[in-house]
């Protein structure tokens, strides 16, 4: 019953190259392997049982004939929309699947192929865990404990207004901030890289010293062709003084059709030119295949029960983070309660552990009741393996504008995290990983704004030190919300975070004149402090398609 779905719509330009390089001459074998893996993952899922039930029930219908049973059932499933749901589920699996690899490659190689990056990630993790352990010991707060019944009842009662609580969070501090992580990335070195030459043709002025593959503007122009000057965009061609008949009206009609068709791949392609405000929630849910079926609601309720039952130290970190960031933000403070409801549940969701097979990070491990070494007592902490850092809640905040139902909001956020956001705070060689984004930003700047880069370097204002905080949060909290959502449309549409690095470079290009006048890091920061008036799509479009090569 499984319909093979071609990967043509996935933005995976490296899959073919990878196949060629690894000498896999048999594409048929590769496709069979992919299909087998997807079938294995979808087997036993709720969708599987729903389709089975539908197939059984449709046998009562008169148009299903015994002689052509298979074809009739298949066409029934097609017309009733179940085939489309299956297609969307397969499409989603393709997004989170490991690329085909050599049989001799061990699992750690699949998480991250470069040994020195794995090592750097492992030692960074150790630092974070040590920090968490000392926080727990110093503050005498256990990492996890069962809540007494009274406390459980209290929390259940104020579940919808946790923001009114004013717990004493002064003793807690975030485990790490983005600038700590930046220092680790700056110190990343490939032991086999020859950096003996002081001045060379290849010299890189920036802070990132690892030679990852990043795309330059000619390559970006080919990859992001839908953003070119002659293609209509939301964020540019829906401006007030442009007549809507020129682009907007028709584009919105197409969007409505895409939503009616319920096609994930079409929604992803559509999103490249932006999503209309009224359709964005449905389109993003389609792209991410986030349904809000009863089983999803049930899963969310189960997580809520997990929050009520056990109190985790990371909960305090989440509270603190929300209070420090989202609650202080003019756009997001109204969503404070939602943020708790999503993030506390996120920490308890073991389904997130799946993504660690393609994430270079490893979930922290512990043993209950101090029984160190006994594997039956081994657990993951927190249950989802993700330790939040300062600013983490900003990944969720913009989504609150789109979804007001907690379980739906949760489902969309979780999918966005396991597809994109995790790459922004782990050390890996992935093209969407934060290391590649930083390097790409610096390369774009050095290649196309060398005077500016040189000037900033001379005054001790390395551009990455300013841009890093934007990129780590995918610009959440720095742009106005409508602009941020237009940016995230493209992240989803192109299935890549590259556009974040491009925007960072474009912002520097936009403010280049002012930046050339400054004489210190502090004044450079001041020039770039307020991005709330920026319009992201014109900046990206001009930087990619109007820069002289």
């Amino acid at each position: 019953m499984l319909l093979a779905y071609k990967t043509s719509n996935c933005a995976v330009p490296d899959a073919e190259l990878n196949a060629k390089l690894t000498g896999r001459m048999d594409e048929g074998t590769e496709l069979s392997l992919t299909i087998a893996q997807i079938v294995q993952r979808l087997k036993g899922s709720h969708l599987h049982s729903q389709i089975e039930r539908q197939a059984k029930e449709c046998l009562h219908q008169p148009e299903i004939k015994l002689e052509s049973l298979k074809e009739d059932v298949r066409s029934f499933l097609k017309t009733s929309g179940w085939e489309r749901k299956l297609q969307n589920a397969v499409y989603r699996e393709l997004h989170v699947q490991l690329p085909p690899s050599h049989p001799a490659a061990p699992p750690e190689h699949l998480k991250e192929p470069l040994a020195y990056m794995r090592k750097a990630q492992a030692s960074w993790e150790k630092r974070v865990l040590k920090s968490l352990n000392s926080m727990s010991t110093e503050l005498e707060v256990p990492l996890a404990r069962m809540r007494p019944a009274v406390e459980q009842k209290e929390l259940t009662n104020k579940w919808n207004e946790m923001g009114t609580d004013e717990p004493d969070l002064s003793r807690f501090r975030p485990v790490y901030a983005p600038k700590d992580f930046l220092e680790v990335l700056i110190s990343l070195r490939n032991p086999n890289h020859d950096s003996s030459e002081d001045v060379s043709v290849r010299s890189h002025w920036g802070l990132i010293q690892v030679p990852l593959n990043v795309r330059d503007i000619p390559q970006l122009r080919r990859a992001y062709s839908e953003l070119n000057l002659t293609t209509g965009q939301l964020g540019i061609d829906d401006h007030a003084h442009i007549h809507p008949d020129l682009f907007e009206n028709e584009y919105v009609q197409i969007g409505k059709k895409v939503v009616v068709e319920q096609d994930s791949a079409a929604a992803q392609q559509y999103s490249r030119q932006g999503c209309p405000t009224g359709l964005r929630a449905d389109l993003w849910a389609l792209i991410l295949n986030s349904t809000n079926q009863p089983q999803d609601v049930m899963h969310y309720e189960q997580l809520t029960a997990g929050v009520i039952q056990h109190d985790l130290l990371v909960d305090n970190l989440i509270y603190k983070d929300v209070k420090l960031t989202a609650s202080n933000d003019d756009y997001y403070f109204v969503f404070e309660d939602f943020l708790y409801q999503v993030l506390l549940c996120f920490s308890r969701d073991t389904a997130v552990l799946d993504h660690f097979k393609y994430n270079s990070a490893t979930p922290p491990k512990s043993y209950i009741q101090g029984k160190v070494g006994e594997e039956e007592c081994a657990v993951v902490y927190p249950p989802n393996g993700v330790i939040p850092f300062h600013g983490f809640s900003m990944y969720v905040a913009p989504l609150c504008f789109l979804y007001n139902e907690p379980s739906k909001l949760y489902s969309v956020f979780r999918e966005m995290y396991i597809r994109y956001f995790f790459r922004l705070h782990s050390i890996s060689s992935s093209p969407s990983g934060i290391v590649s984004l930083c390097l790409q930003f610096e390369r774009l700047l050095q290649t196309h704004l060398p005077q500016l880069f040189y000037h900033l370097r001379q005054i001790g204002a390395q551009p990455l030190r300013i841009a890093f905080k934007w990129m780590v949060r995918a610009f959440s909290g720095y742009l106005s919300t409508d602009q941020l959502l237009l940016l995230w449309d493209r992240i989803l549409g192109y299935d890549s975070l590259e556009v974040v690095a491009v925007l960072a470079a474009a912002v520097f290009a936009f403010r280049a004149e002012n930046l050339m006048e400054v004489t210190s890091l502090a004044s450079a920061e001041a020039v770039l402090a307020d991005l709330s008036t920026l319009k992201v799509m014109p900046l990206i479009q001009i930087f990619l398609f109007a820069t002289a090569i």
């Binding site: 190259l17 390089l21 690894t22 000498g23 896999r24 001459m25 074998t29 993952r41 087997k43 036993g44 899922s45 690899s101 050599h102 049989p103 001799a104 490659a105 190689h109 192929p113 470069l114 150790k126 865990l129 968490l132 727990s136 010991t137 256990p142 990492l143 996890a144 404990r145 069962m146 490939n190 032991p191 086999n192 890289h193 020859d194 290849r202 030679p211 990852l212 593959n213 899963h299 189960q302 997990g306 056990h310 308890r348 073991t350 389904a351 552990l353 922290p364 491990k365 512990s366 043993y367 209950i368 009741q369 101090g370 160190v372 039956e376 007592c377 657990v379 902490y381 249950p383 060689s429």
Partner: protein
């Protein structure tokens, strides 16, 4: 096609240390070498028909495979030939992609038939000056296995006499019913195995307990 390499053992071969080629006086010229030769000698007197060569890359950009083949029976001396020229392992020699990946070179990718091979020479090239060194690790050569012919049951097996049957079954259940019910159970477990779901249950605690003191640092 190459999926059964776990069953086939690699051929025991001697991998000579990599030899880096230099131009001119090696003492005065400190430039890194860009070409390296790795000789892999197969067991003496036992030429191999190669199915696959697997290895792990370490910053080699291109690899050329040359084979020394000796035709069986004839008196002709062994001859070198090129099986594969400049296979790219890194799409950009200056950047990381592919630098530490695992690769296989299958006989169907080779330009000549890798049969009766006595020695394999891998010529590695890394034109970029970005790297301090380059090589290949874990080189393994897998022999070509002919599919097994149908084996006939040896005569001596059929000469075995059967041990006397009908032991005393008093008090024990009938062996036929036992065996058929076991067969049914086995069939059920097979069905369950094939229908196993990868969906997890979602519990993060161990029997309701999730009291944790310290995170494990190892």
């Amino acid at each position: 096609m190459s999926g059964n390499t776990e069953d086939i053992k690699p051929v025991k071969c001697t991998i000579k240390p990599p030899f880096y080629l230099q131009i001119g006086d090696t003492k005065t010229d400190p430039a890194h070498s860009g070409v390296c030769v790795v000789d892999v000698t197969l067991p003496f007197g036992k030429p191999v028909n190669i199915e696959e060569i697997t290895f792990k890359n370490y910053y080699t950009a291109y690899v050329t495979v040359r084979l020394l083949r000796r035709s069986p029976g004839q008196e002709t001396p062994a001859k070198w030939c090129t099986a594969l020229r400049d296979l790219p392992l890194m799409d950009n020699p200056h950047t990381e992609r592919g630098s530490q990946d695992y690769y296989s070179i299958h006989r169907t990718q080779m330009q000549v038939d890798p049969d009766h091979v006595v020695s394999v020479r891998l010529i590695l090239r890394q034109p970029s000056s970005a790297w301090l060194t380059f090589s290949l690790e874990d080189v393994k050569i897998f022999p070509h296995m002919e599919p097994d012919p149908e084996k006939e049951v040896s005569d001596w097996l059929s000469d075995l006499t059967l041990v006397g049957q009908h032991p005393d079954l008093e008090g024990l259940p009938d062996p036929h019913t036992v065996s058929s019910s076991i067969q049914q159970m086995w069939a059920l477990t097979e069905v369950m195995q094939t229908n196993q779901t990868t969906a997890s249950i979602g519990r993060f605690d161990v029997d309701g307990c999730y009291d944790i003191n310290l995170l494990s640092l190892t």
